[in-house]
Each structure stands twice: as structure tokens, then as C-alpha cells.
Symmetry: C2
């Protein structure tokens, strides 16, 4: 397979631009004052289907032949890629099948159903996900659209950072959550094309640090199924394609404790009125964790998704609002 | 005083464009399906200081002489205009004094304090607000920046609709909340310039229907201080300047019950992950109230602000989430 390059991100941006929502860069004078630097947040929680995943899904399905679209597409996902694939498939008239964990958040499952996709569930602890996907592809002639580890999906994901850099070409640092690594890899490609001096930092939950471990050892490490509130980042091993890119281009990985993910959610609510799901707040948690350790200059944070049920959102925000000692409050008192 | 025209809105847009946030138009395929028409939401809750009010404040303060800026500005507000004026004044190096009700939402008061403005409080039930403002202006040489009823403030407010129409020139209907009437008047001017066929509908809480009553009788009616969760819309009488414009250009007024305002907040959360304060959700409540009574075609709704304390937001969303019979849920089940 040919090498994926920054050029593929630019091509993807042209291909999907008219299909996706123009998500805003959020800013707050109070936050800029607090961190002592310009801080912008790319609000992909306001993207169609509530996450950046539509970028890769549209870029992938758009490149399928009419015959392949007619047979249909299949993908596995904790929820956000499932909704994205369902929407992209609907747009191009392709039947969609999504394979999701039986314990996926209700809001994500409902989103998939509303878009008319067929749902196949599996038990997250057995790890049989890929087996099911490949069987469906084989038996029904479906095209597989992976959630992260594929060229069109990585290139599509990179368009979020590309848009951010076109609007704010002065960014010195970008923070991005790392799950399967597609968003991080695409971001690295976009940033390296814009200016190789931009530092792209990946952020992982402490408990789901497969990419950090893999970067340390130099090869893709598998960890046990992690327990984290960031349900979109519970990967056990970096993707092969994404890891090759991230190994080469990521400045570093920051890991964040679970409590800080909830604090980031509360901070994003308080200062930007932005509703982030736990996975979507992980990149901002990286900023709260290590603002002084990052290189100086304007920082861009990708808020990757907002698909969280109201009861869970409420519980997580409340868990922070009632504490007295957290970073987020201390920063702005 | 010369007549305010659409041209003033365009001039304001040029004047303040680089000073404000480029707020997004939110859309949702599921909502479009539910209403059977394209629906977009202008997210002014993501504007600087969390409401559209910065548009008028920047437009007003920008036009003051250096000497007037040096003496300072004063304005009265339930909270959002206060924050907006504080930011605009800070930007232009002018001392700001804001006169706000003693019971204004805490999040709005904190926002004003963080921006360095002097705060003078008054008792909302006495109605002495304007007296205090005029005394401060007289005694200290301050320039008054009204929250709604002034030419630069109306023209600035109209830039939100102007931006929306530039992005979506096909809109047939616009819904806008009516408090002092500045946002509605500015929206009318912007829409009439774009295409006089666009129907601009004002939306008021049932309990705060001073503009509806005034339009019915043809002159500005005063109502007792209203009780509504929409704290930004508790006006007792339309402004003189705003009423002249709204009387001429508004297609009609829709009034909404209190419960529907909370439903609109929940709907905006659920489908757009947009955090609206009660006043900010009133325009969308107008859509939930009367979708079939509005003219056909794509509709634009101005979500005018998001400044609501977390405990209050939570309580209002919960009040809807636990009901079974509300419009918002029924629309999307």
C-alpha cells in the first residue's frame, strides 16, 4: 500500500468540505488570561453526528465504487464511528452495518438507529469485534470502513486540524486525543504540511496508554481492555498504519488521570459552554495536566466529540462542581 | 435622530467583524427530518461573553470619541449586556460601569467582574434602573450604552442575522427572541435588506409579552415586571426605537409558555449539544410551539445566549428529561 502523505489530507478536505459542518474554533478571553497564551478549541462535538468521525467516514465511502456502495459498508465502533458511517452511507445510498459493543452509550446507539443502519452487537470483553466484521464483509460482500486504521479514514480525520490551522496559522502546539490513533495521525500529517515546527501532542487516559507504551518500546504493545470513562479511547493496541505515522510525527504523549477528564469536561462547559463527552475532553485534560510543560505559543485543542447521555454528563460535571480542590476551578478563581 | 437602515447593519458588520467570534450555524439531519424542513441555529451562546450582546456593545463603543472613551461608559443590563459592555470597554481602554439587578444570575455577575468593570446593583422591583444610569452619566461624564434601544446597538445586533443569511441565503423564516427588541429590530433590518420576503418572527415568553400587546394596540404598552425563567427578556415595555422598527418589519409575534422554554433548552442540548440559557432558548421554543403555523421553507433560529449557572441549567434540563409528555421528546421518538 502506498504511503499516506499530507497531500491526502488536503485532497480529503476538498472531497468532504461540502458534506460536513463548518465547526467553530472556540475562544475565551478569560481562558487565554488564565493560561497566559492564546487557546483555541476546535469544536468537533458540533460536527454532524456529534464527533469528528464523519470526516473519515465520508472520505472513505466517497471513494467506493458505485457497485461497492450498492453492496454496502460495515464498520466496528464504540459508537461515534458507527454514527458517522451510518450518515455517510445514507448520504451515498449505501446500506450500512455497524458492529458495536453491547454496552455502548445509549445516545450513540440511538444515533445509529435514527440514521437507519443495521446494528450488530458484541461483548467488549471477548474481543471478537474484528472477527464479526470480517465475517460480515466476506459473507455479504460489504466494504469494511475501519474506525481509525485506514488511509481514507486517517486522511479524513486530519481535515479537522487542517481547518484549524487555516484559521489559526500561528498555532505552535496542538493537543489531540489518541484512541485508535487515526485523529492523531491525521493531525500530525496536517500539521507537518502546515509547518513541521508545530508540536502535536497526543493525550491518552492513564489507564489506556497503549500508544504511550508502544512509543516507549518502539513496537505496538497490546494492553488488557482498559477501564476508562473515555469510552471512545478504550483501545488495546495502536493501529498498524496509525502507529507508523504517530511514531514518526507525534512530539510526545501526555497521559491524564480519570478525574482530570471530568474536570476538563466541566472546564469546557464553564468557559466555552461546550458539551464534551469524556473522550472528547481528553485532549483538553492534557492542557490542564501539563500547561507549563508544553512548548510556548498559541495552542489548539481538538474537542473530538460530544456524544454523552444527559444523566452521565450531569453526574460527571457534578462530580467536579462539588469538589473544592480541582485544577479547573483553581485556574479561574 | 436620523433613521436607522439596513445599511447601518452592514457597516456594523464591517466594523466589528474582526473583534467578535465567528459563531457557527448548527444543523442536525435528525432535526431536519423531524421538522420536515432545513433548520439552522445561529449559536450566539458561543459568542464572546456568551451572548450576541457583544455585537452591539462593540459597535457602540467603537464609535465613541477618544475623549468619551477616556471618561468611560455606563449601561444597565440583566447581565449579558453588562458582560458585553465590559469586554468592549476593556478592548477600547474605556472604564466601564454596569448597573445590574441585585438578583442577576451569578455566572453573569462573575463574567462582569472578571472583565474588570465596576458594578452598581439595584432592586429589580423598583424600576429605578434608568435613573441610576442617567445620574452616573451626568455626574461622571460617562457615555450611556443602552442594552437595546439605541442605533449602534440595534445595528450591531443585526449582524448576527446578517452573518446567518450570508451563509444560508435560502432562509425563508427567522425566529428571534424579543426582550428590549434590539436583536429583533436588527434582525428585521438585516433580513429586509437580504430579501423582504424573509419572514422574521419575534418570540416572547407568554408572561413577558409587552411587544405582542404593543403591536396589537399599535402603541408601546407597559406591563408589570414579568415573572419568567428567561431572565434576559423581563422587559416591561418595548423601546421607542426598537418598536418603530419591529412594528414595521416583524411578520408576527409567537408567545411561548415557560415549560416550553425549558423543553427548548433540552432539545438544543440533545440535538446540537448547545447550551442555551432560558432567554437564549426562547426563539427555538417558538419553533417547537408553532412549526406548522410558520411559512414553509428553511428556518434560521437565533440562539442568543448561553449564560446560565450549572445548577440552574441542570435543574431545567432535568425538569424536561423526567417528563414523558413533552413536545421535544415526542418530536424525536
Amino acid at each position: 500500500m502506498s504511503l499516506l502523505t499530507s497531500h491526502d489530507v488536503l485532497t480529503a478536505a476538498d472531497r468532504i468540505h461540502h458534506l460536513i459542518a463548518p465547526t467553530p474554533l472556540l475562544s475565551s478571553p478569560a481562558v487565554n488570561d488564565a493560561f497566559g497564551r492564546e487557546t483555541v478549541v476546535k469544536a468537533e462535538n458540533m460536527q454532524l453526528t456529534g464527533s469528528f468521525k464523519v470526516r473519515g467516514a465520508f472520505n472513505a465511502v466517497a471513494q467506493l465504487s458505485p457497485a461497492a456502495r450498492g453492496r454496502g459498508v460495515v464498520g466496528a465502533s464504540s459508537g461515534n464511528h458507527a454514527q458517522a458511517l451510518a450518515l455517510a452511507a445514507r448520504h451515498f445510498g449505501a446500506p450500512a452495518t455497524v458492529v458495536i459493543p453491547a454496552d455502548a452509550p445509549r445516545t450513540k446507539v440511538q444515533g445509529v438507529q435514527a440514521l437507519g443502519a443495521r446494528i450488530v452487537t458484541y461483548d467488549r470483553t471477548t474481543g471478537r469485534r474484528d472477527e464479526i466484521v470480517h465475517r460480515l464483509a466476506r459473507e455479504e460482500g460489504l466494504s469494511i470502513v475501519p474506525s481509525a486504521d485506514s488511509h481514507p479514514v486517517i486522511a479524513g480525520a486530519g481535515t479537522a486540524a487542517w481547518e484549524m490551522l487555516r484559521e489559526r496559522p500561528d498555532l505552535a502546539v496542538i493537543l489531540v486525543a489518541v484512541g485508535g490513533g487515526g485523529l492523531a495521525a491525521g493531525t500530525c500529517l496536517a500539521a507537518s504540511h502546515h509547518d513541521p515546527a508545530v508540536g502535536v501532542f497526543g493525550v491518552e487516559p492513564e489507564t489506556a496508554d497503549d500508544t504511550r507504551r508502544s512509543l516507549t518500546t518502539g513496537r505496538r504493545v497490546r494492553i488488557p481492555p482498559p477501564s476508562t470513562i473515555a469510552d471512545g479511547l478504550g483501545h488495546t493496541r495502536p493501529g498498524g498504519l496509525t502507529f507508523e505515522i504517530n511514531r514518526r510525527l507525534l512530539a510526545d504523549i501526555v497521559t491524564v488521570p480519570e478525574a482530570l477528564i471530568a474536570e476538563a469536561m466541566a472546564f469546557l462547559w464553564r468557559h466555552y459552554r461546550a458539551a464534551a463527552e469524556p473522550s472528547g475532553a481528553v485532549a483538553f485534560a492534557g492542557l490542564l495536566q501539563a500547561p507549563a510543560l508544553l512548548p510556548p505559543g498559541p495552542v489548539g485543542v481538538i474537542l473530538s466529540g460530544g456524544n454523552v447521555d444527559w444523566p452521565r454528563y450531569k453526574t460527571l460535571i457534578d462530580s467536579v462542581a462539588t469538589r473544592e480542590d480541582h485544577h479547573a476551578a483553581a485556574l479561574l478563581r
